[in-house]
C-alpha cells in the first residue's frame, strides 16, 4: 500500500461511516485471501453505498473483493491485487417477500440460515443445504455457485434464481431478470455472476422463487461393497419414475469423513431423501428398497427423523469438515455425467494410490463430483501436487475439473481452473464489459480474470 493509497482509504470511511470502516491489523487479517491482507475493510449499509465504494475504488484503481461469511474465500486463484474487502454483512434484510406468490427478494449479505428461518414461518423454504450453513450468505453461495445436494430435485440456484441486482466494476447499480416467476425481458446477465467469485459484480440483491415446505420426508441409506453397486442403484433411480429430493453417493473415504453411525465403515453409501405427500414418501420407501436389493445392496436402511437430520447435517457440511479437519487436503470439483462417474472415481483412486495419498469422493445429484485428496502418512506436498496436476490434465485427467481448495503453496503453482476452454476469449470480453478497470476480484477467476 502506497502512502497515497493510505490517504485514499480514509475517504472510504466517509462513504460507509466510521463505524463500518476498519484498517486495524487484526481486522485486516480476518479478511485475508490466500494469505494476502486488504488495506481496508468496509461494511456498506446499502446498495448505493456499495456502488459509491466501487466508484471510489475505480477512480483510485483499487482492487476489491466482496465477501459475506468468508467461508469460501479460498476458492479460485490467489488475487493479484487486493486493497479493499467489501463486507456485505450489513445488507442482511428480506426486502420483498410475497408468500402467496412464492417469490422473494433478499439482500446479498443475508445469512442463508436466517433466510430459511424467515421462510419457515410461512411454511416455505429454499432448497439450499449448503456447507458453512450458519455462516454462508446468499451473495456468497451465488458467487461460488455453492451446490446443495437437493439439486437432484430442484436444480442449482441458477434454476430458481429470478434476478439479481449488482454493482458492476464501474460502480453502476444494475439489475437483470425479474421479480416474477417468469420473464424473458432483457439478457439474463445475472446468470453470468453465478460462480464468478465476484469478478463481474457485487451482488446486492437476489430474487428467488420459493418452495412450500414438504408435508413429509424420509431419509434412506443403501450401502454397497463396491462402486458398481452404488452407481447401479443411482442409475436405476434415474431410470425409474421416482423423484427423490436428494441422491448423494459417498465412497468409503467420504463416508469416513462424514463419520455418521448410519454409514457402515468401508462401504460405498448412497444417501437418498424423499419429500412430498405422505403417500409419495411411502412409495419411495417401498420402491427404493426394491431398487437397492436389485442393485445388490448389502443393506438398505430407512432413517428415523432424528437420524436423518443428523446425517444430512454432516453430509451438508462435508466440505467444511474437510477444510477444518484436513487443512492440507485438496478438493476438486468436476461437473460430471452419470456415464463418466465410474471412470472418474477409478482414475482418482489410481492417482491417489500412485502418490501415497488417501482419497474421498462424493457424487452430488449425479452432476457434481467432489474429490478430496488427503496427504496420508507417506504423502508429501510434492506428491499431492503431482496428483492434482494429473487429475486436472486435459489428457488422461478429468476434463474441466476445478481445484476448489488446496494448501496455499500449491495454489500459487497450479492453475485452479485447469486448462482454459474454447470460450476464454468471450469470457475476456464479458469481463471487460462488467469490470472495465479490472478491480473486482482480480486474478481469481478462470484465465486470471
Amino acid at each position: 500500500m502506497s502512502p497515497a493509497t493510505g490517504t485514499a482509504f480514509a475517504q472510504l470511511s466517509s462513504i460507509v461511516g466510521e463505524a463500518s470502516y476498519f484498517a486495524d491489523p487484526a481486522a485486516l487479517t480476518r479478511y485475508s485471501v490466500d494469505g494476502r491482507n486488504p488495506g481496508a475493510v468496509v461494511r456498506p449499509g446499502s446498495a448505493e453505498e456499495v456502488a459509491e465504494v466501487v466508484r471510489f475504488a475505480a477512480s483510485e484503481k483499487l482492487a476489491l473483493i466482496a465477501c459475506g461469511g468468508r467461508s469460501k474465500l479460498g476458492v479460485g486463484m490467489p488475487p493479484v491485487r487486493y486493497d479493499i474487502a467489501v463486507d456485505l454483512s450489513r445488507l442482511n434484510r428480506v426486502v420483498a417477500y410475497d408468500p402467496g406468490d412464492l417469490t422473494l427478494g433478499v439482500e446479498g449479505g443475508m445469512l442463508v440460515s436466517a433466510l430459511l428461518e424467515a421462510l419457515r414461518e410461512k411454511n416455505q423454504w429454499l432448497p439450499l443445504l449448503v456447507p458453512w450453513y450458519d455462516r454462508a450468505t446468499i451473495g456468497g453461495i451465488l458467487s461460488t455457485n455453492s451446490i446443495s445436494p437437493l439439486r437432484y430435485m430442484f436444480g442449482g440456484p441458477r434454476d430458481f434464481l429470478l434476478g439479481l441486482e449488482f454493482v458492476t466494476g464501474d460502480g453502476k447499480l444494475c439489475k437483470s431478470g425479474a421479480r416474477v416467476v417468469k420473464s424473458v425481458a432483457g439478457y439474463d446477465s445475472h446468470k453470468l455472476l453465478l460462480g464468478a467469485l465476484g469478478s463481474l459484480g457485487i451482488i446486492t440483491r437476489a430474487n428467488f422463487r420459493t418452495f412450500p415446505l414438504p408435508r413429509a420426508q424420509r431419509g434412506f441409506v443403501a450401502s454397497y461393497s463396491d462402486a458398481a453397486g452404488a452407481l447401479d442403484f443411482c442409475r436405476r433411480i434415474a431410470q425409474s419414475s421416482l423423484k427423490p429430493a436428494l441422491v448423494e453417493v459417498l465412497d468409503p473415504g467420504a463416508a469416513r469423513i462424514v463419520a455418521n453411525p448410519k454409514l457402515p465403515e468401508g462401504s460405498w453409501c448412497v444417501v437418498a431423501v424423499a419429500i412430498g405427500h405422505e403417500a409419495v414418501v411411502e412409495r419411495h420407501a417401498r420402491d427404493l428398497a426394491q431398487l437397492a436389493e436389485q442393485s445388490g445392496a448389502a443393506a438398505f436402511v430407512a432413517l428415523t427423523d432424528a437420524d436423518k437430520k443428523e446425517l444430512l447435517g454432516r453430509v451438508r457440511e462435508f466440505l467444511r469438515i474437510v477444510a477444518e479437519q484436513y487443512p492440507d487436503a485438496a478438493v476438486l470439483r468436476t461437473g460430471v455425467l452419470p456415464q463418466n462417474v465410474t471412470a472418474n472415481c477409478e482414475k482418482i483412486a489410481r492417482l491417489a494410490a500412485q502418490n501415497g495419498l488417501g482419497c474421498a469422493n462424493v457424487v452430488r445429484a449425479g452432476a457434481t463430483l467432489y474429490t478430496v485428496l488427503l496427504p496420508g502418512t507417506e504423502g508429501t506436498t510434492e506428491r499431492l501436487e503431482a496428483a492434482i496436476r494429473s487429475a486436472m490434465s486435459s489428457t488422461g485427467g478429468m476434463p474441466r475439473a476445478v481445484l476448489e481448495r488446496c494448501p496455499t503453496e500449491i495454489k500459487s503453482r497450479v492453475n485452479s481452473w485447469g486448462p482454459v476452454g474454447p470460450d476464454m476469449e468471450l469470457m475476456k470480453r464479458v469481463k471487460q464489459v462488467f469490470d472495465p478497470h479490472g478491480i473486482l476480484s482480480p486474478g481469481r477467476f478462470v484465465g486470471g480474470l
Binding site: 417469490t103 416474477v180 420473464s183 419414475s241 403417500a279 468471450l426 470480453r429 471487460q432 462488467f434
Partner: protein, 486 residues
C-alpha cells in the same frame, strides 16, 4: 442489396439455397406477431460451415443478418427489420444424438420442438419446454426466445434445459463451443446468457439439451366457472396453498367459445372461464394433488370439475388450448397477443383492468394464458389493415403492459422483446441496466449487424410507442371485427 452479394451467396450455398425474388421473400416478411419486415434474400445453410461462410460474407459487405427458425415467434424477433440476409434453418434439422443414459440430446437449430420429443420417446424421455407452436417451432427459435409453454410451470423454461451451445460470432464468423453436456463447466455461464438473447449476440448452430423422464401418471382436470373472478381466485388459492400442478391454464368465455367452434373439445359454451389443470408425476402424487385441486375449485365456486377420462379426452382439451390463437384467427383478420407477467396474487384485479382497458379502446378481448405462472396472453382481435385500429390496439397493449410493470411484473414472459416491445424496455429497466445490456451486445455483436434494431429502445428512455406506418403495402377495405359465436 447488391446483386453481387446474392451471386456470392449462390456460389457459396448453391442456387437452390438462396431466395431473392420478391414473391419468395414475401413469405418471410411475417412471423406470429403483428410486425412485418422483408429480407432482401433468404438463405438455407446445411452446416455450421455454411453459416460461417454467410456470416463472413455479410460482415465483409456490412450486410445485416437475422436468423430464423419456423417464424412462429410473437415479437418480430426473426424478422429482417433492416432488410439484408435472413438465415433460415429448415435444412439444419438433424437430431445429432439422443444420449439416453445421460438424458441429453444434441440437435441442430432447425429441429422442430415436437420432433425431438418424438425421437426421445423410445427411451421414455422428452424435451420439456412445450410452446403452443411446438408442432412447428424449432429448438433454435426456442433457444433465442427462451421459450416457455404450459408445462414450464413445473419444469422451467428453455434456459433450464440447455447445457451447451455451438455459436457463430457475427463479427468474425468464429465458431465457439460454450457449455457442455455436463450441467456445470468452469467459467462464466455464457450458455445462460445466450439463451433468450433473441438472436442479437450470436448465431446458434448446435444445441445440447436436457431430456426429462416422462411422468408415470397424468391427470387433466377442467374446472368450469360462472364468474371470471372465481376462476382467478382459484389460481391465487392454488399458488397460495403451494399446490404445484404441471400446468394451470386459464381461458375465458370469449376465448373458449372461439376455440370450441374449431376444436370441438367439449368446452362449456355458457361458462365465464375455465381452468385447464394438469397434474403429473408419481401416481400417488397425482392422486393427492387432484384431491387438493378439486377442493380448492369447489371452495372457489367452480360450477363443475371434470376429469379427462382417457388420453383422447386429454388430447382434445389440449388441442383446444394449444390451437386457441389459430381459432381466434378464424374470427378476425388479425389479433394482437400480449405476454405480460404479474405476481399471481394480483391476477383478479389485473384481469379486471385488462377488461376495462380494452373496453376503453373499443375492443373485445380474449384471455387465454398460463395462469399458474401469472403469464397473461390477452388477445385483442383487430384489423391490421386499418391504420386507426392498429394505432389504437398498440395503445391498449401499452396500457396493459404498464399495469403489469406497476404491480411488479414483466412485459414478456416467453414471447420476447423483439421489435414489438423494445420501446417499452425503459419502463422495466434503468439507463444503467440497459447500458450494461448494450455493452454486452456490443461485446458479441460489435457492428450491430446481427438482428439490428431489436430488443433495445431506439431512443433514450422515453418509453413511447412509435406510431408505425401501415404494415401492409396494398391496403384492402377494412373488415369489421366480429365477436366469437355466442
Amino acid at each position: 442489396m447488391e446483386k453481387s452479394i446474392i451471386r456470392d451467396l449462390e456460389k457459396l450455398l448453391g442456387r437452390d439455397a438462396v431466395l431473392s425474388a420478391r414473391t419468395d421473400l414475401m413469405m418471410y416478411e411475417y412471423d406470429g406477431s403483428v410486425e412485418q419486415a422483408r429480407p432482401e434474400c433468404v438463405v438455407f445453410p446445411r452446416s455450421t460451415e455454411d453459416v460461417v461462410g454467410i456470416v463472413k460474407l455479410a460482415s465483409r459487405t456490412q450486410t445485416p443478418i437475422v436468423a430464423r427458425g419456423a417464424g412462429t415467434g410473437l415479437s418480430g424477433g426473426a424478422l429482417a427489420r433492416r432488410g439484408g440476409i435472413m438465415i433460415a434453418f429448415p435444412r439444419m434439422n438433424r437430431i445429432l444424438e439422443v444420449d439416453a443414459e445421460n438424458q441429453r440430446a444434441v440437435v441442430q437449430p432447425g429441429v422442430v420442438n415436437l420432433d425431438l420429443s418424438r425421437a426421445a420417446e423410445p427411451y421414455s424421455l422428452y424435451f420439456a419446454p412445450d410452446p403452443s407452436s411446438q408442432k412447428a417451432c424449432t429448438i433454435g427459435g426456442n433457444v433465442a426466445e427462451n421459450a416457455g409453454g404450459p408445462h414450464t410451470l413445473a419444469y422451467g423454461v428453455t434456459t433450464n434445459h440447455v447445457t451447451g451451445l455451438e455459436i457463430v460470432l457475427p463479427d468474425s464468423g468464429e465458431v465457439v463451443r460454450i457449455g457442455d453436456k455436463a450441467a456445470e463447466t468452469p467459467g462464466f455461464d455464457l450458455t445462460g446468457l445466450m439463451v433468450g438473447s433473441e438472436g442479437t449476440l450470436a448465431i446458434v448452430t448446435e444445441i445440447t439439451v436436457k431430456l426429462t423422464r416422462k411422468p408415470e401418471a397424468v391427470k387433466t382436470l377442467l374446472a368450469i366457472f360462472d364468474r371470471v373472478d372465481d376462476c382467478t381466485q382459484t389460481v391465487v388459492e392454488i399458488t397460495g396453498r403451494a399446490i404445484t400442478p404441471a400446468a394451470c391454464e386459464m381461458m375465458d368465455g370469449w376465448t373458449l367459445r372461439a376455440v370450441e367452434a374449431f376444436a370441438h373439445a367439449g368446452f362449456p359454451l355458457d361458462s365465464a372461464a375455465v381452468l385447464l389443470i394438469e397434474l403429473e408425476g408419481l401416481r400417488e402424487a397425482v392422486e393427492a394433488q387432484a384431491v387438493d385441486v378439486i377442493d380448492v375449485c369447489k371452495l372457489c365456486h367452480a360450477r363443475d370439475v371434470r376429469v379427462a377420462k382417457d388420453d383422447r379426452e386429454r388430447d382434445l382439451l389440449w388441442k383446444g388450448r394449444k390451437n386457441a390463437f389459430g381459432a381466434v384467427g378464424r374470427l378476425s383478420p388479425s389479433y394482437y397477443v400480449q405476454d405480460g407477467v404479474i405476481p399471481r396474487t394480483r391476477l383478479p384485479e389485473t384481469l379486471r383492468h385488462i377488461d376495462a382497458v380494452c373496453a376503453k379502446y373499443g375492443f373485445p378481448v380474449g384471455n387465454i394464458f398460463h395462469a399458474g405462472d401469472g403469464n397473461l396472453h390477452p388477445l385483442i382481435p383487430f384489423d391490421v389493415r386499418d391504420h386507426e385500429q392498429f394505432d389504437r390496439v398498440v395503445r391498449a397493449a401499452h396500457e396493459i403492459m404498464e399495469f403489469c410493470i406497476s404491480v411488479g411484473g414483466s412485459i414478456t414472459g416467453e414471447h420476447g422483446v423483439g421489435m414489438e416491445k423494445n420501446e417499452l424496455m425503459p419502463l422495466l429497466f434503468s439507463e444503467s441496466d440497459l447500458g450494461l445490456m448494450r455493452r454486452v451486445r456490443d461485446a458479441f455483436n460489435p457492428t450491430g449487424l446481427l438482428n439490428p434494431d431489436k430488443f433495445f429502445p431506439s431512443s433514450k428512455g422515453c418509453g413511447e410507442i412509435r406510431v408505425r406506418p401501415l404494415p401492409i403495402s396494398e391496403p384492402a377495405a377494412p373488415t369489421p371485427v366480429s365477436g366469437p359465436p355466442a
